[in-house]
Every structure is written in structure tokens, then in C-alpha cells.
Amino acid sequence: MASIPPEFKVSIDSARCRKCGICVNNCSFGALEFGDDRVIPDDSKCVACYRCVSKCPDNAITITNYQWANRGNANWTPETTSNIQKQAEFGGILLSGMGNPRPHKIIWDHLLIDACQVTNPSIDPLREPMELRTYLGKKPDNLEFVENKEGEIELATELQPQVKLDVPVVFAAMSYGAVSLNAHKALAMAAKKSGTLMNTGEGGLHEDLYQYSDNIMVQVASGRFGVHNEYLNTCSMIEIKIGQGAKPGIGGHLPGEKVGEEISKTRMIPSGTDVLSPAPHHDIYSIEDLSQLIYALKEATNYEKPVGVKISAVHNVAAIASGVVRAGADVLTIDGYRGGSGASPMVIRDNVGIPIELALATVDQRLRDEGIRNRASILCAGSIRSSADIAKAVALGADAVVIGTAALIAMGCSVCQRCYTGNCAWGIATQKPELVKRLDPETAAQKLTNLLSGWSFELKEILGSLGVNSIESLRGNRERLRGYELDEKTLELLGIKSAGVGQ
């Protein structure tokens, strides 16, 4: 292993350091040690999580990228080389955490939003009403009314169950197991405060969270962990997980060392065993089987809850989405290839799938072409980073977006990409009690709430500048988007005009 140079370099400024030892205690990766009356860093262990930097009272720590002498080889980069060396050393699959980090073009950043000038008025969001409320669920094509005995009109159509969101942002599926119980609690509390949903992921729901049932989406994945009657009924909607953007076509795997007593109870499996969720649901090998599972879940919950389906954005996503909607899904979540993950084989994460922007645009268009867009709400996932991304996603056709990584960052995550190690220095992606307690659920919930409230303000500003006062008027309104530095084909697929083109 000596041949693999470290990624980062930790320098301690001894002139500033008061030798309090805080950093040593805080490093959950074992990169800092006391010796010779000074702090000695082991560069090879540092993951640049910045826990020590943020805790050091003297600002004495600096983390830099370990500088490889530039051999000028753009093909055999340090990363490629060290990956080969790691595999040569150990065999096996390269694993990583978080989403695709590669410098691919991000389409969101090439979409520009319109604003009103002169010919139509913009609206002042601070003083005028501005609506973000969104309902997830199947909508009928039309409503029917009857006249009652008194000659008044009454609604004859019985609407399918709908879930109300006060902000068009829900928290992504992150299982208890992949993240800590405190993280799950924070997400649930914030969802309640902000009027949205947290998603349990596939690891069941801890009893402490049952009280948040109105703000919970429970997930049913191939492993069926913790899926029982109570679970299915302690939520406002159910999601069947088919795929995840970070690893389309690949299952999940929670290593046994993360499976302690509480997780074992929640997932209903013995402690210490590997938790395997293979890629396919073994009762879904075809589209009509998906329909069968959707209706099985509805049957088990008395048709009271919307049932959604999450798929990853793959080449044929539009046709698949159409099939999923026709199979009876009330909500469709599409997860793009930059979506996050607690652990994903690097080769899949970085090479499989398509950008969410293209997937969303083509799915929305396909469902409209087929006249079935009303039958399901669309949730757009896979690296939503800001309110601007949300506005653009909504304009391309999403009903709401899903945030995973952004929510973790709000709670303190520094995107060190080491979630799979179970050593998360911020108490998020870990089950070690001493680390978990670093995350205070109340504080983290407040931060999440603040983030959503900030984004809501910004969204309202955007709506106001567009001269509309409800998110519905932006939803699918691609006329208010323009593309910049995008090629013809991409513009065509996005269904938008180039910047510079007027009406």
C-alpha cells in the first residue's frame, strides 16, 4: 500500500496549537494522534471531513490536497492510478459514498429563468400572496358533479388520496442504518415543521418516529426490511423503490457491523448480519408484476395511501415511466445519475444512468403525449442543490423535488464521501454511539427547517419575478426557461428554446 500516496495533507501550525487535544478526540478516522507532546497527523487516514478544523480553538489546522508532482498525464491521472493500485492490493469492488463527483456538465447551470419587464407585471412576493402548496397523488382527468335535492352542486368524483406539501421539496430516502437514528429524527421533525415528508428508505421505521406518521413516506424495497402492517399504515404514502440514481440496477448492502440492537429491531433481522437488498424485487420481473405489487400495497392499506414508485434515470426512462404510471403508481420519483448514496460501487455511480434534467423533461413530455400526466405526480431527484434547481425542475415538469445530499449538508455533512465507513464525523452516516451523539436532532431539524424556509422565500421571489403567484403556473411551464450553451439536441429534449430566442 505504500505505493499509494495519501489524498490529503494535514498540517498543524505548532506556533498556534495550544495542545488541547480536541482535534485528536474529534477525528473519527484516526488520523490524528498525540505524541512527543504534539499532534501528529497520519495523512493517509485523513478524509478531509473538516471536523478537526471546525473544532480547533486556535485555527491551527490546515488540510490541503496532497500535491502529486504533475507528470502531465491526462489519461493516467492520480485517481485512476491509485484505484488500480487499491484493487491490485485487495481485489474487490471500489466503493464510494455520495453522488457522482465527476466534472460532467450540469444542465441546471445552463438553464436560465425568465422574468417580467413592462409587458406583464412582476409580483412582490413579500407583500402579495404567493403559493407553493403542492399535492402529490393521482388526479382524475376531469371532475364530475351532481345536483343534490336542494339543487346545489356536489362533487361526484371521489378523489384518490393526496398528500399535501407546503413546500415542493421532500427529503430523500435514506434508511435508518445508512444514517443514524438522530439523523432520521431530525429529518422527521423538520418534515413536520416544514409541512413536507421524510422518506424512511428501506430500513424500516424506528418506533420513536411513529408520532411523525403524517410526514412520513415509507419505502418498500427488495429486502422488505421492517415492512409489516404497522409500518405500511404509519405514513402518509408508500414508495416502492425500484432504482436509485447513484446505482441503477444495483442493490443495496448494509454491512453487518452497522447492524446493532436498534437497527436489528427496526429492520427485524438479527444483529450483526449483512443486510442485503438485491437489485430486483423478486416479485417484480416485469411491468405487470409492478402493478400487482402496487395494488397489493393498496389492498393492505385499504386504498387510503398513494403508492409511489422510484426509478433511476436510465436510457429508456420515458417508456419505463409511462409503464410505471400505467401500472398504477400515484407518484413517480425519478433519480438522476448524480444522485447520492451511502455506498455505491464507483464504477456504477460514475458510468451508469443519465442526467436528471433530460430524464425529467422526456418523462414529463412522454406522459403528456400519452395523455396520462395527470395520473401521477412526478418527484425529481438526483442532486438538487438550490432553489434555482427547484424552480427549473418544476418548470421542466416536476411536481416537487427530492433532496438527500443537500439535507445532509444542512445537518453538517461535509461531503467527505466516506459514508460507507460508518465513521461519519458529524454523527450522520454512522451507528457508533459516540459519533451519533454529535448530531443533536433538534438543532439539525432546525437547520433543515431553515434551509427549506430560505428556499421557499427564494422560490417565491422567482415566482414573483415571473409574474405568477402560484407554483402551478410554473409547473411544466417550459416557455419560461431558456437554454444557454446547450446543443440543439439537448434543447430539443428539454423542450426549451435557446437563450436569445423570444416567444
Partner: protein, 375 residues
């Protein structure tokens, strides 16, 4: 109008055969597929029937779909140039027809789905002129013409082209398609049926199953993940994939391997649903040599992905699954009858007391063969 996008689909299938050649009307097969209504979504249903044209048993029966009467005219000129037309007529249909029998498979409250619109549907019974088959066999000649019609004549599509058989299909639930085509008035010794759950609107009738070529017909449940290479493998042999559905490649694959390469059906299936190397290595010498060669030569013909398939041809039916059995199939026998279906209940709906019921092993075909002549 031919859809330009690839259409994955799920489905239900059902098939029945009288191995003694007794001809049965279309009510039973309709009842069977109707029970599995919820496995399809109204975007395609169809039937293949063998033995339905005893009067024209020696002629190739072309079941045609036309976009317009103009396309029909162009097609008829073509047909006259290449064949003797012994007889032709409109395929009788009942627009607005809907399946009305009671079944536990359908929720009536959802409303009926009558079939009101259709392309122009016509059938032609034709002979191949003797002087055209000096250098190619008759079947090869018909094959070439079918490919040419489907790819070159705008708005014309050959739904089936075998002798004494026909494919009846369209947009709708299969049981309604049966009512539309009056299938209770046809008698066949083999019936196969298909209810489709495509993942988009195909928008045209030719995309429904069964898919047929000469006397082959295929009904298929599942998806063929290897479609891309199967298609590219077939193209140089003159096959044109006009439908963009994976089912089409299955029919062509049988045509290529069995009719043109003369491989016995069972062996052909060991190319399409090939045994794993692990099992091949354990086979006795002779068999191992054959299957190894098959996999070496016909690697591109391997159908990979989840599927169950029923192949129909004039002498019988063959049902088989993918290599790891990812799609369901149940078979049953009663006297001289052989049944195959996605669900056992669909068989019991028409034969409550079968002699035997079993589900075939992955990759092991179930074969029904005519052992008497058709009545």
C-alpha cells in the same frame, strides 16, 4: 405510424392445443385470457389460430392491416405482381364489440372498453407462381415478400402469412379483441393468446402480439434485454425489425434457425435459452459438443432477460422460459389437450379438472405436437 421507439412490455399469455387435431372455437381461449385481464392494460391483445381455413388450406393466408384504402390499392398491385390471388375478402369484424361474459378477472365498474376504430383489415389467400421458385424455396420467396411489404409499402402491414392459420390482433384488451373479430366463429386446433401491458401507447395495431411470419407465431411475456444484439444479428440475414418490439426478434430467430438453418426446434431452443456453461461442462461428451458449438456459433441468438414464450407453428406449440425462470408459465394436460398459461387459474377457468398440471423447468421446452391429422 410505425412506432419509432422501442416498447418494452409485460403481459399475459395463454395457449391451447388439441394434439389430435380436433378443432375448437375461440370461446375457450378468450375466457382464459380474460381471466388475466389485470395483467394487461388495454394497449394490445391478440390471438393466433391454426386450422381455421380448411377451404384454403394450401394457400398462404395474408392477414393485412392498412392505414387507408390507398395503401390497400398499392399493396394489391404488388400482390398481383408476385402471387396468384385465389380469394380475398374483408376480415369480418364487429366494431363496438365488447366481451360480455362474466368473469372474476374483470372489474365491471371500471367500464367496458369496446373497440370502435380499426385499420382496414383484409385477408388474401395466395399461391406462389411456380416460375418464381426456381432458385429459392417457396417459403423463402414468401419470406422475402413479407419483409418487402412491411418495410417498403407505406401504410400496409402483414399481420400473418402462414397457411391455414391467421393472427387476429389490435389495440384493446384481448377479450374485446376476440369479440371484435368474432373469434367464436373460428375453429382451430391451436390457439395462442396474448394480453399486453406495454409501457407506452403503440398507437397502431401492428404492434400488438402475437407476432407472426410464415406459419410461426409468437406470444411472449417479459422483456428481452439482449434485443439490441439479437436485432443486429438478424439484420444481415434479411430480417427487418419494423415493429421495434423484442417479440419480433423471437419469431425471426425461429425462422432463421429452424426454417433456414434446419436446426431441430429443441436444439434451436438451446441456442435461444442456452444452458449455463457450468451445466454444459457436466454434459455427456456428444451433447456437450453440440451445445458448446451452439453457444459458440449462436451466441448472438441468446435471448437474455426475463421471458416466457409460446411459439406456435402448423405442427404444434412450444413453450419455454428464460434461463433462470423469471417469468411464470404453467402447463396442463387433459386427454389430448395441452394448455400453457401465465397463471394456472387461467387454465382452470376453461379446464377445471386437468389430468396433470405442472410448471416447466427454466430453459426446458414443453412441446405439443400434432400426432393425428387435423380433422
Amino acid at each position: 405510424m410505425k412506432s419509432s421507439c422501442y416498447i418494452p412490455s409485460g403481459c399475459s399469455i395463454s395457449a391451447m392445443m388439441s394434439e389430435s387435431g380436433k378443432r375448437i372455437d375461440g370461446r375457450a381461449i378468450t375466457k382464459s385470457i380474460a381471466l388475466m385481464h389485470d395483467r394487461s392494460n388495454g394497449l394490445g391483445g391478440g390471438f393466433a389460430a391454426y386450422g381455421i381455413y380448411p377451404r384454403y388450406a394450401e394457400q398462404y393466408a395474408f392477414h393485412m392491416m392498412f392505414n387507408s384504402f390507398e395503401a390497400k390499392g398499392v399493396f394489391e398491385n404488388y400482390l398481383k405482381d408476385h402471387f396468384y390471388i385465389v380469394h380475398d375478402e374483408e376480415i369480418p369484424t364487429r366494431p363496438g364489440a365488447v366481451y360480455e361474459e362474466d368473469t372474476s378477472g374483470i372489474n365491471i365498474e371500471y367500464g367496458m372498453n369496446p373497440i370502435t376504430e380499426s385499420p382496414v383489415l383484409w385477408r388474401y389467400f395466395v399461391d406462389v407462381p411456380g416460375n418464381r421458385t426456381q432458385f429459392v424455396s417457396e417459403s423463402e420467396y414468401v419470406f422475402e415478400k413479407v419483409m418487402e411489404i412491411n418495410s417498403k409499402i407505406e401504410g400496409a402491414f402483414v399481420a400473418s402469412s402462414g397457411k391455414n392459420m391467421g393472427i387476429f390482433k389490435g389495440l384493446g384488451y384481448p377479450e374485446d379483441i376476440a369479440a371484435f373479430y368474432n373469434l367464436d366463429e373460428y375453429k382451430a386446433y391451436i390457439w395462442t393468446a396474448h394480453g399486453r401491458f406495454p409501457t407506452n401507447t403503440p398507437g397502431w395495431w401492428g404492434g400488438a402480439h402475437p407476432f407472426g411470419l410464415l406459419d410461426w407465431s409468437i406470444v411472449h411475456n417479459g422483456e428481452i434485454s439482449s434485443y439490441g444484439i439479437n436485432k443486429r444479428y438478424l439484420e444481415p440475414f434479411g430480417y427487418r425489425m419494423e415493429l421495434k418490439t423484442d417479440t419480433e426478434v423471437v419469431a425471426y430467430m425461429f425462422d432463421l434457425l429452424v426454417r433456414r438453418h434446419n436446426i431441430p426446434i429443441k436444439t434451436a431452443i438451446s441456442a435461444l435459452s442456452a444452458p449455463f456453461w457450468k451445466n454444459i461442462d457436466k454434459m455427456p461428451e456428444r451433447e456437450r459438443k453440440i451445445i458448446t458449438a451452439i453457444r459458440q456459433v449462436y451466441g448472438s441468438a441468446l435471448l437474455n432477460g426475463p421471458y416466457s414464450i409460446v411459439l406456435g407453428h402448423s405442427r404444434g406449440i412450444v413453450g419455454f422460459n428464460d434461463r433462470i425462470k423469471l417469468r411464470p408459465m404453467t402447463c396442463a394436460r387433459k386427454d389430448n389437450m395441452l394448455y400453457m398459461s401465465s397463471e394456472e387459474s387461467a387454465i382452470r377457468e376453461i379446464e377445471p379438472n386437468p389430468d396433470t398440471v405442472w410448471s416447466p423447468k427454466a430453459g426446458t421446452p414443453v412441446i405439443g405436437e400434432l400426432y393425428e391429422e387435423v380433422e
